[in-house]
């Protein structure tokens, strides 16, 4: 299990990275992920191929995701234990922010 320092150094994640990690709880390839993120985020976050390709490269290098399949020149990735730990930490952090936000912007 990765220790806290190893996970918190990546925070805060960008919205796009957050959604990418959230999507990879199950194996997914590039374009399928792009579509899933658009639906999950209710259209607020779109991921372009340039952004996604770069993210895949970095996330794989840092050990947050791992390649599980390659078919027809499409790689599928999955979250690693480290990836899950980072995501969990980010969600915890975001939750505090959102709670503050909802309270303060009540009735706006």
């Amino acid at each position: 299990m990765p220790n806290r320092d190893e996970t918190t150094k990546y925070l805060p994640l960008s919205e796009a990275t957050c959604y990418i990690l959230l999507s990879l709880v199950e194996p997914l390839h590039g374009y399928a992920l792009m579509q899933k993120v658009e639906v999950m985020s209710q259209g607020t976050v779109k991921i372009g191929p340039g952004t996604l390709y770069g993210a895949f490269t970095v996330l794989e290098k840092e050990g947050l995701i791992v390649k599980v399949d390659e078919r027809d020149r499409r790689k599928s990735y999955l979250l690693t234990a480290k990836g899950r730990a980072v995501l969990l930490e980010q969600v915890r952090r975001s939750e505090i922010l959102v709670r503050n936000g909802i309270e303060i912007t009540k009735g706006w």
Binding site: V45, G48, R73
Partner: protein
């Protein structure tokens, strides 16, 4: 019936990728669609109906998994028109009022300029070393011209790095 093609030469510096993208879109709106780019800055266009197309350029330094890279763009609806010295030319037709992008957030777009910068940063010191190591017989005209050219290139590199760095900073956000 053969489609009419035309070749144009137009110089764009590395940091003027947005201008290049805008120019290609303008050509498309006039009915000239990029067929392929060739080095150095020679564009082949073919005639067709005017289209509201978006052109985007990516810059890559490694050809590792190039086919996967292209497949991802293709799946996302981008047509690959060719490459020119690391630059990848993509086109997508607008659907509605939304402008399609290959980089959807500023941080990832910065990666493209970082790659460009890293390439220049590697070559810059090499040029300096070459410039400061002149052979014994350095009064000969050839060497003088060589030094002048070298000096000019060093300055150009310096300007390029600054311009790209500024372009990167334009993308910074809160």
């Amino acid at each position: 019936m053969e489609t009419q093609t035309v070749r144009k030469f137009k110089w764009f510096w590395a940091w003027q990728d947005d201008k290049e993208e805008a120019w290609l879109s303008e050509m498309a709106q006039s009915g000239w669609h990029l067929k392929w780019p060739a080095f150095p800055c020679i564009y082949t266009f073919e005639a067709g109906a005017p289209r509201d197309d978006v052109y985007r350029l990516d810059f890559i330094t490694s050809n590792k998994d190039y086919q996967d890279y292209l497949q991802l763009f293709q799946d996302a609806g981008w047509v690959h028109l060719g490459s020119m010295g690391g630059w990848q030319y993509f086109r997508k037709t607008k659907q509605g009022t939304e402008i399609p992008e290959i980089y959807t957030d500023p941080e990832s777009k910065m990666q493209k300029y970082r790659r460009l910068l890293s390439l220049l940063v590697i070559f810059f010191p090499i040029y300096i070393v070459l410039l400061t190591n002149s052979p014994a017989d350095s009064t000969h005209l050839i060497y003088q011209i060589g030094k002048l050219l070298g000096g000019f290139l060093v300055i150009l590199f310096g300007i390029a790095m600054i311009k790209i760095y500024l372009r990167m900073n334009q993308l910074k956000r809160l």
